[in-house]
């Protein structure tokens, strides 16, 4: 074993390759970490800003004495945050695109939920160089580089026949050779990872899962390489390299792309823009309707307010917020259908992962990093719940026209997650 190691490391190109791998693994970790700490910094900055804003509002309202609950609903923005989780840096996933700070007010939620973030779209498109990308995309290339010419290099050096006559048990001989190569590759990936997680004081269970994933994935590629480069007629190194590269292209690029196409065809989801158009139609259409057309269905959902004084004038905040909410209610089925389609896509991606290791690895890492579609949907769910809490907090002041004091204003719900 030791001799194999020395033999391997004596090749300058191999040593170089391994060093590059260590460097790029570290770079990928660092890069992911920087992205996430930028998000964290922006979030805490926004939190501070929100707090200051709230204090100023409190002062302003305290001076004012009487607070108009309707205006609070319209003018006061509430911040919602999508906090990165501890391991988010491992796979940035859709965190690169989704806004991590959003502002919500009491108006219809569907008109606010999908506000985009102002990133530089070109760089979002180029994607981030995170550990998941490095592992899924490049570790196969490392395996191929080190293992495509197992037999062929010996053949080309005219040692293969000699080896065959010297080696007692060819299985053990090749197994040893392969094992040492795999261990080196594996180490270049996990040593920087382990050091990084110790430096940053990260939790062990997730680290173990990531290491196991890395181990399985590199083993998969090792198996593929063995199948190609140890077959009986594997005597042409270039042909092996090309076969393996094609396998890599297939597993890491072509099949995921085709799966994506199939997925979007199989589970069609309405484009978000349709929701926006319909939401506008519902919200603004309400101005042209009789007030009772909005309020009666609203009272069916909230019977506790139905005996409050009827709206007779041209405008009343309670009617205004009722139609804002009814627009959301009327869109529920569309929103649910979209969400359902997205969940189905997610499920199908999981199933595809059982066949395609590249997808499996990407998905598992994003699960640990909590940066997948499922987490986005969860986050939207949290925003919806928060919006509900806000509505329920203000409704008594709107419908019963209870006076809102600045003290009560100070107790308005805040987003906690």
């Amino acid at each position: 074993m030791k001799h194999e190691l020395i033999l391997l490391l004596k090749q300058r190109s191999v040593l170089l390759l391994l060093l590059i791998s260590v460097a790029l693994t570290s770079l990928s970790l660092l890069n992911g970490w920087q992205n996430i700490s930028h998000m964290r910094a922006q979030i805490s900055h926004a939190q501070l800003e929100e707090q200051r804003q709230r204090e100023r509002q409190l002062v302003a309202y305290a001076d004012q004495g009487k607070i108009d609950a309707g205006e609070v609903g319209y003018y006061v923005f509430h911040y919602v945050y999508q906090h990165p989780s501890e391991w988010s840096f491992i796979a940035l996933g859709n965190r690169l695109v989704t806004p991590y700070v959003q502002r919500i007010r009491l108006l219809g939620l569907q008109g606010q939920l999908y506000d985009g973030e102002s990133h530089h779209p070109e760089y979002v498109m180029l994607g981030s160089f995170d550990y998941a990308f490095w592992l899924v995309f490049f570790s196969p290339l490392l395996c191929i580089a080190l293992m495509h010419d197992l037999k062929a290099s010996e053949f080309e050096a005219q040692r293969l026949k000699l080896l065959a006559s010297l080696v007692k048990n060819p299985f053990i001989f090749w197994a040893r050779r392969i094992f040492i190569r795999w261990v080196l590759i594996f180490m270049t990936l996990i040593i920087p990872l382990a050091i990084f997680s110790i430096l940053k004081n990260l939790t062990l269970p997730s680290l173990i899962v990531i290491i196991t994933t890395t181990c399985l994935y590199t083993l998969f590629w090792t198996m593929v390489c063995i199948m190609v480069s140890l077959r009986a007629r594997a005597l042409n190194a270039s042909l092996n390299a090309i076969l393996l590269a094609s396998a890599w292209l297939l597993v890491c690029v072509i099949l995921p792309n085709l799966s994506q196409l199939w997925l979007n065809d199989r589970y069609p989801a309405q484009d978000g823009s349709q929701i926006a158009l319909q939401h506008r139609q519902l919200v603004h259409g309400a101005w042209d309707l009789e007030k009772t057309d909005t309020l009666n269905p609203f009272y069916e959902i909230y019977p506790q307010w139905q005996h409050t004084p009827p709206v007779t004038g041209r405008f009343h905040w309670k009617w205004y917020y009722a139609f804002q909410h009814m627009a959301d209610v009327r869109l529920t089925s569309n929103v649910m259908a979209r969400e359902h389609a997205l969940l189905q896509r997610h499920q199908a991606t999981i199933s595809l992962g059982l066949i395609l290791p590249s997808i499996w690895v990407q998905r598992s890492l994003e699960d640990i990093a909590q940066s997948n579609i499922i987490h986005l949907l969860n986050h939207r769910q949290q925003i919806t719940e928060f919006h509900n809490r806000l509505r329920h907090f203000l409704y008594p002041y709107l419908f019963e026209e209870k006076a809102l004091t600045s003290q009560e204003f100070g107790h308005m719900p805040a987003f906690e997650h």
Partner: protein, 469 residues
């Protein structure tokens, strides 16, 4: 100077490649890959194009079918615009999936472009998309490396290179012959793609200019990779090291540098979250003036000059609707502030771009991507132009509505008045069109210069290498 020896060398190289069988196999794989890419990219484009058409139609219909309304209702009802697509997006979708394609135009707000498929993609969305542009940018060089890494090294190893030179073939002839042998088949494929694309996009916006820019970029890029392959192949003593060096170049140039540069630019010139920009805009607006506050100095002056102009003492006596005038003034102010805020954001993005351009010489792949994105109308400059156009449309539309408010709504019964729907139908809503290629001038010039540099530098190095050996 005769070209015949060059052609001979080229033909010999083709023969060698043909007999080696693998290069031919690779070329076939490449063409298959290309077909798959064209198929998926077309599918992708079709989805988008359908969506754009549908939303445009729906938005138009919704707008036209508005009943009689108060003008201010209409300005809150607002208008939707969708980002137009150039059919060349089939080749390079660029930032389609990331930038958001729908903007809601309403009074007193500058909304973001919303809805991008990238947000709601599953893990599959993180795999690099295969598009014809990606084929040229990533996969063609890779295949080229695998086909050509041996072209001179093998001659060196076999001793035929020394023999050829001993026979009086100058080095440049050998290099040119080998280069042509690699370049011509790929150039033919690129030409074929360009011709097919030309047929497909015929008659669209700036079709020829865009396509030829893209084609020029692609040709330069592939030419530069061919020189690079020849250079490394000439320099290396072993087949293995030639392959490894080239693969390393590929990984750096195509993947690590572009991603690394993008991340570096974002770290050095971070963008604010949109919410923060909005909040700052609101603060600025509060400073300027509050139209609802009767004691506000800005609006008090505004009112005084207005009364003076019409020679009346009370706003109630104005012949026009004072609220409408107030709206116009307030809209002018908010728009000014939002545009300032947006300009700040754009400045930051341009700083990021500037940082990248400084280092663009590191990677011709990113340079090619800029060219392809620009010519298909899917780069940042086109997106910014779209946002600007839609913002202009928004301002024009809202001020038109405020004018109607001023002139057609009796101020003594302001809130109960409904204005005929006829006015909405005739409202100025100029169609949002794709910006012309000139908006991407800067990135095009830099990128073409980088590509040229990447041809000249390897040629120079090649010259040095053949003098040494």
């Amino acid at each position: 100077m005769t070209l015949t020896p060059v052609v001979m060398i080229m033909r010999n190289e083709w023969q060698r490649l043909w007999h080696a069988r693998i290069p031919v196999l690779l070329l076939v794989v490449l063409v298959v890959l290309w077909t798959i890419a064209a198929f998926t990219a077309h599918h992708h484009w079709q989805d988008h194009a359908q969506n754009v058409a549908q939303v445009t139609k729906q938005s138009q219909q919704d707008w036209q079918s508005q009943p009689n309304r108060h003008p201010h209702r209409v300005s809150h009802y607002g208008d939707f615009v969708v980002k137009p697509l150039h059919p060349l997006s089939v080749i390079e979708p660029g930032i389609i999936d990331q930038s958001g394609h729908l903007v809601y135009l309403e009074a007193h707000r500058l909304n973001s472009a919303n809805f991008n498929p990238a947000t709601e993609a599953t893990s599959l969305g993180r795999f690099p998309l295969i598009t014809p542009a990606m084929i040229v940018q990533w996969w063609m060089p890779l295949f080229l490396i695998m086909i050509g890494y041996a072209s001179i090294t093998s001659e060196k190893v076999a001793g035929t290179l020394a023999y050829m030179r001993g026979n009086g073939s100058p080095a440049w002839q050998i290099a040119a012959g080998k280069w042509l042998a690699l370049f011509l088949p790929l150039a033919f494929l690129l030409l074929l793609q360009a011709l097919l694309t030309a047929a497909w996009i015929w008659g669209t916006d700036q079709a020829l200019l865009r396509l030829s820019t893209m084609w020029l970029g692609q040709m330069l890029y592939i030419a530069s990779w061919c020189v690079l392959v020849i250079l490394v192949s000439w320099h290396s003593r072993q087949l293995h090291s030639a392959l490894l060096t080239l693969l390393l170049c590929w990984v750096c140039v195509c993947i690590i540098f572009p991603k690394g540069l993008a991340n570096l630019a974002q770290m050095n010139h971070p963008t604010q979250p949109r919410t923060e920009a909005e909040y700052h805009a609101e603060l600025k607006l509060k400073e300027i003036g509050d139209s609802h506050n009767p004691d506000d100095p800005h609006f008090a002056t505004f009112k005084a000059s207005l009364l003076n102009q019409y020679g009346v003492t009370r706003t109630e006596d104005l012949p026009v609707n004072y609220n409408g005038l107030l709206m116009q003034e307030a809209e002018r102010l908010t728009t000014q502030v939002y545009r300032e805020q947006h300009a700040l954001h754009n400045k930051q993005l341009n700083k990021q771009n500037g940082a990248i351009r400084q280092w663009l010489w590191l990677t011709p792949a990113l340079a090619l991507q800029y060219i392809q994105m620009a010519s298909s109308g899917n780069d940042l400059a086109h997106h910014q132009a779209f946002i600007e156009q839609s913002e202009n449309r928004r301002y024009q539309l809202i001020q038109y509505l405020n004018l109607i408010h001023t002139q057609k709504v009796d101020q003594h019964d302001d809130k109960n008045t409904r204005v005929s729907a006829e006015f909405w139908r005739n409202a100025p809503r100029p169609p949002v069109t794709l910006a012309t290629l000139i908006v991407s001038r800067d990135s095009l010039v830099t990128s073409l210069a980088v590509l040229l540099g990447w041809i000249l530098l390897p040629v120079f190095l090649l010259y040095r290498v053949w003098h040494r050996t």
